[in-house]
Every structure is written in structure tokens, then in C-alpha cells.
């Protein structure tokens, strides 16, 4: 962590413009998708396994009274408005994700920054140790755990949440009948959609905690202006001092 008695590390250009813009568009999208999603969920606050919802038999795996009003958009029971908001931002999330995919392939953000390497595999255990000790080094490259977290969101959770979202659409079910079956049926897909939402919220919590622990000014600056100050002894290309 920052130690003011030591000399300052180099200030580098860390995040490309495409990365920064897509990051903030996603932040806004996910905020509205989460709260309008909870509004939609409240219209039938139960989760099932399989293709249908058991009314006269029991295939529910989760049922609650509903999420509190302060967690939904709008703040009153209003499925219609929740859907308007949710489907609007869903289009934005998908469009931004596709744009990000193309841009990140072109500017090599995917290969250079996110794709884990053999070196990451070797450094995984030391990196876990460093994180547990809160010895968070500001390096040019993401650490193995960062790659796993960001890669997990971008290559696992985002595709999953988009595909299971599409499973909710009867029109898309006719276009891609195998898609809901891949998840075990439409109601299972709805359950997966919900679970991915929980995982994204967990990611957000850890993401926020890491920013605070790693030095919020430097971390937020890098995703706003792109500039990032390295730890004093951090070498080019190394995650670990």
C-alpha cells in the first residue's frame, strides 16, 4: 500500500478510452438492470427448476415475499415500468458488450490484459497470499486474481446473464429453441439469471472493497482518466514487486 516515505512510482497510461467508456456504461446499465430486475422478480418472487412453475406440485427452490421497495425501480409495484427500464438497459448492455468485444480484440486489451498466461498460473498462489496480506501492488498488468475476477465477469457472467435473459423471451425461444433447454428449461434459465445477478452483486462488493483497500484515488483515476501510478518498485510487465 502507499507509503509516503518511499519515492512515488511512475504514472502510466493504464486504461484505454474504450475500456473506460464501456466500464461506465456497464456501471450505469447494471445499476438500472439490477433494480428494475428486482421489480420484475417481485411480480412472481419464486424460482423454479425445469421448464415450468409448479402450482399444484412443488418444484420451487426459492420463494420470498419480495424485495423491499427501496431496492426496486420504480419504488412501487409496477411491473410494466420495470420491464420498460429493464429491456431498455438490456439492449444497451448487449450493444456495449459487443462493441467492447470488437474494440478489445482490436486494441489487444483481451489478449494483453485479460487472457491468463502460464506466468499467471505460476503466480496465482503468491498473488492469493499477497491479497490476503493486503499487499496490493500497483503494476502495469492485472494480477492473476484480477484477471480471474474481470475475466469471470466479462467471459462468464455477462454471456450467461445475456443468454438466460434471452431465454425469457417467447419470441427468442422460437428462434433458438435449444437455448432454454441448455439451461434445463425456461424456469431453470430464469433461476440461473437470478443467480448470475447475485454473483454480479458479489463481484461489485469485492470490486468496491478492493478499490478502497488498494487506494481509491489511484484506482478511480485509472478508470476515469486512464492514468495510474505504479508502486515504486514495480517493473514493466510484472504484477509482483
Amino acid at each position: 500500500m502507499a507509503n509516503h516515505s518511499q519515492p512515488k512510482g511512475r504514472l502510466i497510461r493504464r486504461q484505454k478510452l474504450a475500456t473506460r467508456i464501456t466500464h461506465w456504461v456497464w456501471a450505469v446499465c447494471l445499476f438500472f438492470l439490477l433494480l428494475s430486475g428486482l421489480q420484475i422478480f417481485n411480480a412472481h418472487p419464486a424460482l423454479y427448476l425445469g421448464d415450468q412453475s409448479g402450482f399444484t406440485y412443488d418444484n420451487a427452490i426459492f420463494a420470498i415475499e419480495g424485495f423491499p421497495r427501496w431496492l426496486t425501480i420504480p419504488s412501487t409495484q409496477d411491473l410494466a415500468t420495470g420491464r420498460v427500464v429493464h429491456l431498455f438497459f438490456a439492449w444497451f448492455l448487449v450493444a456495449t458488450f459487443l462493441a467492447w468485444l470488437v474494440l478489445s480484440l482490436r486494441n489487444r486489451h483481451l489478449r494483453k490484459d485479460l487472457l491468463p498466461t502460464a506466468k499467471d498460473a505460476r503466480n496465482l498462489v503468491p498473488d492469493i497470499r499477497d491479497h490476503l496480506r493486503l499487499n496490493l501492488v500497483h503494476a502495469v498488468r492485472y494480477s492473476p486474481l484480477q484477471k480471474l475476477a474481470y475475466g469471470g465477469v466479462l467471459f462468464v457472467l455477462f454471456p450467461l446473464v445475456i443468454l438466460t435473459g434471452l431465454c425469457m423471451s417467447p419470441g427468442m425461444n422460437a428462434v433458438l429453441p435449444w437455448l432454454p433447454e441448455m439451461f434445463g428449461g425456461r424456469q431453470s434459465a430464469r433461476t440461473v439469471h437470478f443467480v448470475v445477478m447475485v454473483l454480479l452483486v458479489l463481484f461489485f462488493a469485492v470490486h468496491m472493497a478492493m478499490i478502497v483497500l488498494a487506494g481509491p484515488f489511484n484506482e478511480v483515476r485509472s478508470i476515469v482518466t486512464g492514468r495510474y501510478r505504479l508502486s515504486p518498485k514495480s517493473k514493466e510487465g510484472a504484477f509482483h514487486v
Partner: protein, 263 residues
């Protein structure tokens, strides 16, 4: 150049600040989106029209909704919305076990026709085991049998100006000072002519129960449940629905739901 960078930076900062402020305001901050004529809501809805256009591009006209096997029928179809209409006309019909029922088909057609229930029952029929997806989020699998709407449209001859099929229903889901607000729904001719779009009179090999829309309900299998009007009184071919109800094309669309419910 430095000016540009600065303004970009301040823009990003402003964006960041507003994102950070969102949770503080609580979700009531977005309750203006409930207002029907709010410009932001209108904008969001117009973006949602993309869904209709995209699905019409992706879906060929006759592409079927998934069908299931008899083993997948594990319960009765869960009734929702109106389950026991109490309008006078309906109660009279119901008292006579729907023997006097006649389906009127008129509007922009060459030969306006009345069909008795027997006439519809003796037409070539289609049976399908499909999943009914409610906008609320639940799903139910049932077997539906009925006369393809396409067949009825061909019998009456749809005029070239017709763009939508309007279902007038017997049930009033809400009442206002001006009287019953009867359920109605519209679909475009692509869905109306779809092979799985049937006027169903039987469910799970039994006559259609009252709770599920007796004597006739429509199945529109590539859309959500609220499009599948129950207790159909009359079918009218129309070119535009701006003068019907509140002008949005269906009972629920008038109440803020999407007219196209393929999502």
C-alpha cells in the same frame, strides 16, 4: 487538444459523480418513469420497439414455438387475469352452456361471418402442447386444441388494408365510472396467420374451462400470456388501433405494458 482532454475528463467525472449519487437518492428518484407521457419513458419504449423489429427479422413467419410431450403436462393451466367473467352477456351465455355462442368476424373483411361453436369445433383443428409464459415470470405447460385462426381469416377474406386482428372480449378486468373496461387485444397479421395461432376450445383434452377462457381463447405462442385473449366475443380486422381503448392496442398496453410481448 488539452482542452478536449479536460472536457472529456470533466464529463467522465460528472458521470462518475452522478453514478455515485444514484443510491443516495433511493429508487424513488426514478419514479418519474412511471408517468405515461414522460419523455424519458417514451424514449425507452421507442428503443424497446427494436425488440419487435429484431424478432420479426430473426423469426420466419411460420417458425414454431417449442412444443412439448404429454409427459410434460404436470398440472392444470394456472388461471390468471379474469377467471370468472361477470358481465351480463357472458353470464347469459354461460347459463346456456354456451349453446347460443356465436363468434362474429367482421371489420376489414370481404364476408363478415358469424360462426357457431359447433362450426368452429368441426373445422380442421390443430393440437399443440406448449408452454405459457406469463409476464409475471411463471410458466405452465398445457395441451391446446382449436381452429387455426388463419383458416377463419381465409374464410372471411381479409382486405388488403387490414393490418391487425382485434379480439373483443366478454370479460371486464377493471371497472371505471364510465362502466366496464372490457379486455381487448390486437396482434399483427404475421402472428394471426402463424400455424400455432389457434382459437382454442379445448385444454388438456377437456372442454376449455371458464377460468381459462371458455368458450374460445386465442393462443399466440410466440408472445407472453397477456396477448392470448380469453372469452373472445368478436374478431375485427382493423388497420390501426389508435382510436381503440387508450390507443395502445391492448388492455395491458393501455396500462403501460409492451404491445409486442415477444419478450
Amino acid at each position: 487538444m488539452s482542452k478536449l482532454v479536460l472536457s472529456r475528463r470533466s464529463l467522465l467525472r460528472a458521470g462518475l459523480a452522478s453514478v455515485a449519487a444514484l443510491p443516495l437518492g433511493g429508487c424513488e428518484a426514478f419514479d418519474f418513469l412511471r408517468e405515461r407521457d414522460n419523455a424519458m419513458r417514451e424514449f425507452m419504449i421507442s428503443m424497446n420497439n427494436l425488440t419487435y423489429k429484431a424478432q420479426r427479422l430473426l423469426l420466419s413467419a411460420d417458425q414454431l414455438a417449442p412444443e412439448f410431450s404429454p409427459a410434460d403436462i404436470r398440472q392444470d393451466q394456472h388461471p390468471n387475469g379474469s377467471i370468472a367473467p361477470d358481465t351480463e352477456d357472458y353470464l347469459t351465455l354461460q347459463a346456456g352452456n354456451f349453446a347460443a355462442y356465436q363468434l362474429e368476424v367482421d371489420g376489414l373483411v370481404e364476408r363478415p361471418t358469424r360462426f357457431s361453436l359447433d362450426a368452429i369445433r368441426t373445422m380442421p383443428s390443430r393440437s399443440q402442447i406448449t408452454r405459457h409464459d406469463c409476464v409475471e415470470g411463471w410458466s405452465c405447460i398445457a395441451k391446446w386444441q382449436g381452429a387455426p385462426l388463419r383458416q377463419i381469416l381465409d374464410q372471411v377474406g381479409v382486405k388488403a388494408q387490414a393490418k391487425y386482428v382485434l379480439f373483443h372480449c366478454y370479460d371486464a378486468l377493471s371497472r371505471s365510472l364510465s362502466g366496464d373496461e372490457l379486455y381487448y387485444e390486437t396482434i399483427d397479421l404475421v402472428d394471426a396467420r402463424h400455424p400455432q395461432t389457434i382459437l382454442a376450445y379445448a385444454m388438456n383434452d377437456k372442454p376449455l374451462p371458464i377460468a381459462n377462457g371458455a368458450p374460445l381463447r386465442v393462443r399466440v405462442e410466440r408472445q407472453l400470456g397477456y396477448k392470448m385473449a380469453k372469452y373472445i366475443r368478436r374478431i375485427e380486422l382493423i388497420s390501426d388501433f389508435s382510436q381503440i381503448g387508450l390507443g395502445q392496442g391492448s388492455f395491458w398496453a393501455d396500462r403501460g405494458y409492451e404491445w409486442y410481448a415477444g419478450i
